[in-house]
Symmetry: C2
Subunit: 220 residues, 2 copies
Amino acid sequence: MASPATRAVRSDGIRSREAILRAAASFASMHGLEELSLGELAAEVGISKSGLYAHFGSKEDLQLATIATATAIFEEVVLVPARRVPPGRDGLVALSDAFCEHIRDRVFPGGCFFDTVAADLVAHPGPVRDAVTDFLRGWRALIREHIRVAAERGELAPGEDLEQLEFDLIAYLSLAHALFRIDGDERVIDRAERAVRQRLGVSLDTAPGTPKRRVAVRRH
Amino acid sequence: MASPATRAVRSDGIRSREAILRAAASFASMHGLEELSLGELAAEVGISKSGLYAHFGSKEDLQLATIATATAIFEEVVLVPARRVPPGRDGLVALSDAFCEHIRDRVFPGGCFFDTVAADLVAHPGPVRDAVTDFLRGWRALIREHIRVAAERGELAPGEDLEQLEFDLIAYLSLAHALFRIDGDERVIDRAERAVRQRLGVSLDTAPGTPKRRVAVRRH
DNA sequence: CCTACCGATCGGTAGG
DNA sequence: CCTACCGATCGGTAGG
């Protein structure tokens, strides 16, 4: 009952919980959160199915925790790096590049975790779906905010329809995810990066203020 | 054993088969072809589960037949009407409008049948997935062919990257499907129609050669 | 974390 | 088209 032993046990528990959630996030990025089976997941991480219930009270608990894990990963590999570039037109390009790179690097094996699970959850209302749509709403709001700043700074074409621009940019990034998922062809990701630049009137070679950073490839 | 009796029985069988397939196509446009459950489907059309096996030898048979039905519906409500406009830039606008209208009209309650089931099937290789990706390849090839003709006729901006144009147009239409599915907000469909026109340099009011036709709303 | 179990549902079959 | 069933798997629980 010494403190170190207790800490070791708890540490193992946390490690195990994290291993489960990383596996769940990977699986869900391929198959969706609805198709996530507790039996399959348990087998993959090497514990019994009811062992999962030591960590999560229900499938819904696990789904929500998986979304939190995926959010943290997305934050780390997309949002934080992109924040090195100030908001506005260059910020949009940086965000687009970081997003595209996280798909190319297969941070989640199924492409964009949130696009995959959103499609899966449309027909299943509830707190899990709400958590996912909340994230996607935030993602779109971030892009909208960049556009607002870009317009304020006169970085956009005069008379640009801001809502239309938002739609177009999200369309390019979403299709990069969808086609890469189906074909596994990296060229569609290049297409998306180019589409964003072209739509913003940014040079196709190297975007100013967007140093070509190669984020450390981290498989989760 | 008279010929009329035989014909009547067969006719009922065909009617029933068609009713099953229409229900299956509707269900799959919401939930995907993988989540399609034979028990649920049977209950919805009012027969027993094993009654389905009188019409289809296996779930895969049913899935393939459902794809064929959805293809026929898509052909009828999107491709045929769009063919009234000659290929090229105007043909692209007509195709885009017809596609958008079939989403707006909820011909399939889940939006674009093929986009939904493709997302569902990515993780399930086999003949069913192949049939869906074949359809989508054909859809993209049709758009590509329109673009080729438009370029040939000098209807596009000089130096236009045709592959990039194809990517962009498909991105707009796919996002119309995805966002309408999630939000049910018709404005995203308007956004897609506008994005296509803008990208093609066509007037946003009324596209020349594209009479605003309201296709008869047919619920399948 | 485990074994052992629950009722429900899955795709599919036997036999009519 | 039906009833009656099959083995497998689902999410979840009891009890340790």
